[in-house]
Symmetry: C2
Subunit: 376 residues, 2 copies
Amino acid sequence: MGVTSGSRPGNIRRASGTGGLETDVIRVGDSIEGMRALPAGSVDMIFADPPYNLQLDGELHRPNNTRVDGVDDEWDQFESLQAYDRFTRDWLAAARHCLKDDGTLWVIGSYHNIFRVGASLQDLGFWILNDVVWRKSNPMPNFRGRRFTNAHETLIWAAKSKDSRYTFNYQSMKALNDDLQMRSDWYMPICAGSERLKDKDGRKAHPTQKPEALLHRIVVASTRPDDLIVDPFLGSGTTAAVAKRLRRRWIGLEADAEYAEIARERLARVRAVDDPTLVQLESRREAPRIPFGRLVERGFLAPGTVLYGGPKGQWTARVRADGTLVSAEAKGSIHQVGAQLQGAPSCNGWQFWQIDVEGNRVPIDVLRQKLRAETN
Amino acid sequence: MGVTSGSRPGNIRRASGTGGLETDVIRVGDSIEGMRALPAGSVDMIFADPPYNLQLDGELHRPNNTRVDGVDDEWDQFESLQAYDRFTRDWLAAARHCLKDDGTLWVIGSYHNIFRVGASLQDLGFWILNDVVWRKSNPMPNFRGRRFTNAHETLIWAAKSKDSRYTFNYQSMKALNDDLQMRSDWYMPICAGSERLKDKDGRKAHPTQKPEALLHRIVVASTRPDDLIVDPFLGSGTTAAVAKRLRRRWIGLEADAEYAEIARERLARVRAVDDPTLVQLESRREAPRIPFGRLVERGFLAPGTVLYGGPKGQWTARVRADGTLVSAEAKGSIHQVGAQLQGAPSCNGWQFWQIDVEGNRVPIDVLRQKLRAETN
DNA sequence: GGGTCACATGAATCGACTC
DNA sequence: GGAGTCGATTCATGTGACC
């Protein structure tokens, strides 16, 4: 993708790779029209927090008789399930239009709407990668004792198609999770306290403001620096704030001019991380590919060196000058020979083959790492 | 509902309340036909673990090249989303037919199918009560490092309609969770070890056997003893095993004769809890009603006794001979006067009003409990 | 200034029975 | 079926007043 130049006149960036598309802006207007107006295939990631279509009737009181301030805003009301489905298909289709083929879509919802969203996006050809559960550490209780505490919301993460080559920063997620694979259930508090935007009367400025921690994880997981992120239902602007801080480009669409203004004021206070290298990703997949043969070229391994294969070194093979191996039973790349000796469909030769270093067996991958370190 | 008599000839029970319907049996055959054949409105709860529309592309291998034994049985392949939707609507409609108006439906699924199931059941008029997340303590890792570890499955709990009077044993769930409301995210291990049924070659007998702990919580939460539970995709029989142990009636439908046989053998080894009182639930809502006036009739409170209202006893009222209260500002029932003094829309007088007992303020509810204990 | 306690509040599809 | 009545029901956090 096109990388933005370092110099930025004012707050608005124009990316060379997207035909001079104006980014880092909030546009007031309809989400669907806004996405349709974007160039086809210009967006790396879309985060959408659409209306949930809650159907509250009557008032709800806490056991101490205070009234619960529920989401009864006009923008969350739909005439019927069918009307909600039409709306959902329309905005998903517009999202598909502006998303790159290798881009991904995130949607958040609750049981009121998420099943309709999930079914619609599958119908449109999106390929679900994960459903992720945001477990709230401090949800509102069920005051009448009639159901389980509604303690989570659901996110769907989807690629544009089954064979998409989407971005997933596996190593960053693993690092965020104490070197264990990041799971599909995330535990985080709701947005409250000083992070929660208030109006001049001290009331919440937006009824459904999302926590920045949630967007942080999403952005780090599924985008790279300078990627373009679009939020078609920007609301209070959490997506844009996190994108700006993490040095991604962004466009926010918001139909309500008051919400847009709240978000603009918020964005003006957000600073991007100073050092661009801090938002660079740690990812083995991103590391430059190094053919095994280069180790031979560069003298890290002399032709004829004996490699030991398998956890106990029970197989052996010798290195040839072109970077292929030869053993008693097979010849070919480090991966092919490893696979054939084991009778396995595939093999990671970098881990399978070892050399003797001062009496110890060490995977040849350490040589690759040494070469990479020199190259950087 | 009709309650089965204590004596049971053999293993099969005939419930008087359901027209002599034969229960506690496994029926081999099509799920949809099986549910259609049940009397309309005869079932208290349905638990369904329908086939997932998994689309494993070729074979999946772990890094050490052992093959992942995925769900690729013939019954789990569907040509298209449309075919899956037809199947889903058909079995859900059949479930609706046999479910009581006040019965509930549980469905479990993963992101492959749960959005389609959820949307279909909403289309059919089911009213979602909760989506519940089963967080697996020991999920299968993501071997390719291309997604988040898929560490949960989703359950939908739904009533037949919006105004259903469904069963929810709130106090039992709260008791199960250290006296805090049970949340919508449940943490449990997958079914493994000695609980996992094996065939004679030591391989798992069923690919998607559910843990009994999961069904235990579901059954305790949403049914009462002697309720009729139907599982239209019985598989290895976990639902029936838990239902039998907890003294619920049950019917299992299973298309595969081999699975049905496995489940039959399993059920033969399951014993119901000996003492029926152990599966009785404590429920405040179902306790016999006692009018406040009866405390006066029975001499627990003399007319003229002073009651103290509110957490600090800041209000007072006196008891009249007919069981109404009179204060400086209001008269009426314990609830009416409590609500009026607080300026609240409603009030539970049993908790609001207190009496002096040896210098301590005690809610008048303790007198009600004393009277209830005498009556039993 | 520190500790305690009261109070506020959050995407909520939040009764049942009698007359 | 509508109105009236009984009576069951909350957890985690942050803030601010008050010792």
